[in-house]
Amino acid sequence: MKLTGAEILCESLTRLGVRHIFGYPGGAILPVYDALGKSKLHHILVRHEQGATHMADGYARASGGIGVAMATSGPGATNMVTGIATAMLDSSPVVCITGQVSSKLLGSDAFQEIDITGITMPITKHNVVVSRAQDVARTVREAFIIANSGRPGPVLIDITKDAQQASCEFDWEVSVPKLPLKRVRNNHDQDEFDRAIQLLNTAKRPLILAGRGIILSGAMRTFAEFVRTCNVPVAMTLLGIGCFPASDPLNLGMMGMHGEAWVNHAIQESDLLIAVGMRFDDRVTGDLRTYAKGARKIHIEIDRAEINKNVKVDAALIGDARETLEKLIPHIENRQHSTWVAHIKELKGDSAVRDIQSLPDSGHLYAAHVINDLWKETRGEAIVVTDVGQHQMWEAQYYHHNQPHTLITSGGLGTMGFALPAAIGATFAKPDCEVWVVVGDGGFQMTMSELATIVQEKTNLKIAIINNGYLGMVRQWQEFFYDKRYVATPLVAPDFAALAIAFGIRGERVTSRAEVIPTIRFARESSETVLIDFRVEQEDSVYPMVPAGASLHEMIRRPNNPLVETASEP
């Protein structure tokens, strides 16, 4: 059967199980769009190519599958860069397809020609230029394997226009992926394995650090069994949230810069850290010189390059989280750590006093209240997609996730503007799930043009803008470390409710605590997208906070007296 390269691309994607493509057309990708029109693939027209990559990323994170984004050459491709980097830093399997000028024009600075494989080399797991129609099917199949295997990540395929237009014989059976079979590195060294068992069975103050690797490996059940077997409390990274139920008594909550105080203290006081699928990012360790000094460390990690990168470990078990935990479980003695667990409970009690939920009602609307009410109303079962900043940390603290793939957030790159498009992607992955966007007034303004995509696609999601009139997290740093010199952080925004209406979306505004729950209920009952502009306390800060570069136990804590004096009318 003779097909064009463009048709082969659509046929290959269909055969690989793809149903949705997030993209934006243009000259160098037009043959593919023509073929798309004849295929069963559902193309979602975005308003900016960055949105396409975030949507594909959100799709991948919500489904556990692979997201696909598409753009034309030149500016279409360069607009994807932020989204690709976001996926790279959070190990999200996204396949990006870009059009390229014809192969005979390559290198001639032709109209809309840019070296996108050169540009994306450090931010993709792999990328490739395809200049012959007969290479399309094999390359796409290889891209899917690469994106989803080992430690997942984005792959970019740049297809020249002549390769899209040329015809060749298409045979799926012949175009098999041809990838080098690399050495299998996860045959753990028996010594390392024995050492890990010995450490696990003798520790007095052990603590598990759970990361996104558990979710990526599909190890949730095995991990829960592991925790049950060794009776060790669990601290979560931001991206690990959901890998182990928040309702479990052994789940302590989030660690790190804005982690719970008791978690950070527990890490510093532990004698054994068992890190599973996490990478000791600087946002979770604080100053490395003082990080968990009394603790031995076991690192279960699929990416060998992460071993001893930031923290020197005593036993490194390289491999898939699920397989490794399965091997460990039979060797673990069921031990109680009652003194240790009781001690952590004490630390927790101290924090509860400072919690914003425990402060007397000052009549002001706090973001934490909004998010906590959202958690209660949705019974913790919604998919929540957050942006980057204060609201993101409050979500991690006050929305308690029990299921994997239900918190979608940009962790590693910290990409503002991520939430709205990523949430749109999530609705296509999980059409039957309730999807909430929790976003700041700053980040929302970066990609709010995607509201039009929502309308065009008749997507149903709920948008909660945590609007404090500032670039809140930066303002908080200015408050703490720059003597309250608020340079470039006060932020003018449009009337978001009116803006939503202009797009054809229901828009609401909430200024008092009493309105929060009724408005959330209204939004949940609506069969259409609803945007709610929550006008919250302007100068609230996220506590606790480990200042950048400080030791993990040196946290700035919420002052015991409420913030009434700094509050201003919304």
Partner: protein, 182 residues
Amino acid sequence: MKEESEQTLVAYVENKPGVLNRVASLARRLAINIDSLTVGPTENSEVARMTIVAHTDDRGGHRLEASLEKLVDVLLAENISERSLLERDLALIKVLADQQSRPHLMELIKVFRARVVDVAPESLIIEVSGTVDKIDGLLEVLRPFGVLEMARSGRIAMTRGGDLLRPPVLTAEAVEPTNAKS
């Protein structure tokens, strides 16, 4: 911080355009300075062999090795710094040589087991291979005669004896993911 030293790595890579760029770009991203990088063909025309000498500590050496092997086009990367190995560098050195200095030069060339590969009225080209130290040593003694030009190949390295570094075969991978849930 551990002391910086020379880390020697061998990598088998797919013989494709852009692979050298990926390797170099990776070292740049890790802020590791490459002292020497050589690429040459292997018995398999689809595979090339690289010897990379980088100035970094053990941890940098490990990171470079592990990160290199993550590149799809890199079939195998191995840090051989701690192993018993043979290293060779090749140099062509053009040196001033008049009637007076020529016998002197010939003497030195003999001592260093180098060869004269080109003779001109005013100069000689000397070819020398060996360890970096040996070539640096020859260079030192040639300098007073007037070194006009020099080209060095960069290092190649191989582990000694039965310690073999062979590239894995290129083959089709069996497991193909599908978006089953989509």
